[in-house]
Assembly symmetry: C2
Homo-oligomer: 254 residues x 2
């Protein structure tokens, strides 16, 4: 806990990780962002130093977290810190070896959650997948991650990318469905928030039932009459109709 952490990036992931580390008693030494406004915003929350000048990033930290867009991670030059420093990225689908040959100690620290700056989230149950360039660093990262979450595992690139894909389906795509459902509410001239009890119950159900057990609806019952009524409603929106048909097929196939 005496170790010093620097965050490279001040977006959704950096903000949430930094706040959790701070709350666990870690010392966030500095925040860097290309965008000074983002850097100050996060540094204010943490009451720590910040910089928007990459060459001014401090060299004496123990952990450097690179919370950067994936394409930036591919090319970023790691901070020229002391050789014991551990350089970590937090991305779901970027190789664990992007820092190979550039620094001595590197790895991945991937918290499996959807992060938004404005919504600090707890990590207690959030899976954290770690990878590192040697056994010693793996142990360090496992210990570090276990201070934040009960669900920690040593990973590989393959496992992490597969998990990321599961996350895209369960979060990004689900949220996209929420948007499409909200749009139907608007067309029905009903308040979109009337969907929330249903959305909540849908999520709660899979805590105690498998998704197979929780599945209901016309496709589950094979009720083609209702399905045809819904298709008619979507006849003016071929993309959505196509999506409706695909998801219906997925359920009918079971």
């Amino acid at each position: 806990m005496n170790c010093k952490i620097v965050f490279i990036g001040a977006g959704n992931v950096a903000t949430n990780l930094a706040l959790v580390f701070r709350d666990k008693g870690f010392f966030v030494r500095q925040v860097y962002s290309l965008h000074e406004q983002s850097a100050t915003l996060l540094a204010d929350k943490l009451n720590c130093e910040y910089t928007s000048d990459y060459s001014a990033v401090v060299k004496d930290a123990d952990f450097y977290f690179y919370c950067l867009p994936d394409h930036v991670l591919q090319t970023v030059e790691p901070v020229f810190a002391h050789t014991d420093a551990l350089h970590l990225h937090t991305a779901g689908s970027v190789s664990g070896e992007v820092f190979m040959g550039k620094v001595e100690n590197y790895g991945v620290f991937y918290p499996f959650q959807t992060f938004t700056k404005s919504r600090p989230v707890k990590l207690d149950e959030v899976p954290i997948l770690v990878q590192a360039n040697n056994r010693r660093n793996e142990e360090i990262l496992l210990s570090l991650a276990k201070l934040l979450s009960a669900n920690v595992v040593l990973s590989t690139d393959e496992k992490r990318i597969r998990l990321h894909l599961a996350g895209v389906i369960a979060n990004n795509f689900t949220n996209c469905l929420y948007r499409l459902a909200f749009e139907q509410m608007q067309m029905a001239d009903l308040p979109a928030e009337w969907l929330l009890p249903l959305i909540d119950e849908t999520a709660r159900k899979v805590h105690t039932l498998t998704p197979e057990q929780a599945q209901t609806g016309p496709a589950r019952r094979g009720d083609m009459q209702i399905i045809d009524k819904h298709r008619q409603l979507l006849s003016t929106n071929p993309n959505l109709l196509n999506l409706y048909n695909q998801l219906t097929e997925q359920i009918l196939d079971r």
Copy 2:
């Protein structure tokens, strides 16, 4: 509250509605199901009479709730009760006039929620859409529904079917995505329940952000490199790959 209610059907909807009415102080007079086991199961919970003989359904109730599969509703002969009785179905996409010409007083009482027998749910915030064959019955149903929920509205067939479609998207299809994500977890050799913090946060987010604001992920960022990695993982599953592409397009199009 002195009125008597009979449930025709003892499935997910009947079970949940009957328990809520009972808890609100109503008298559930009798439960009918073709399947005696279902009828006794619900009658035991309610401590009321049951029958699996349709001709033995009591004639003196005030409300008959037909919680039946959609195709059965199209053809069911309503109970030969006294003429003041109000005959209601609870389906999302069945016409409000299926009982027209068969009984004097009829309508729709559609609670917008996903119901499972084993999970009694509260209806306090659950939207209830009502329809009836005349103004007086509309008023009766609006009053009745308002005893159960804060979100009650007089509907039309069009509005209700559109809401049902929104529900299919937000519940049935979302649950289908949960299943597909669970399957990816299995392929990654990770516990499926590790998805739950993400699923929960995804649902919570749209309480305070719009789905547009809550959208994250590679498609939101237009990160084609990651999208291509995920496509490779799905190359052996053309249906899922097709679905991945469609949902990705929906997000990219924004």
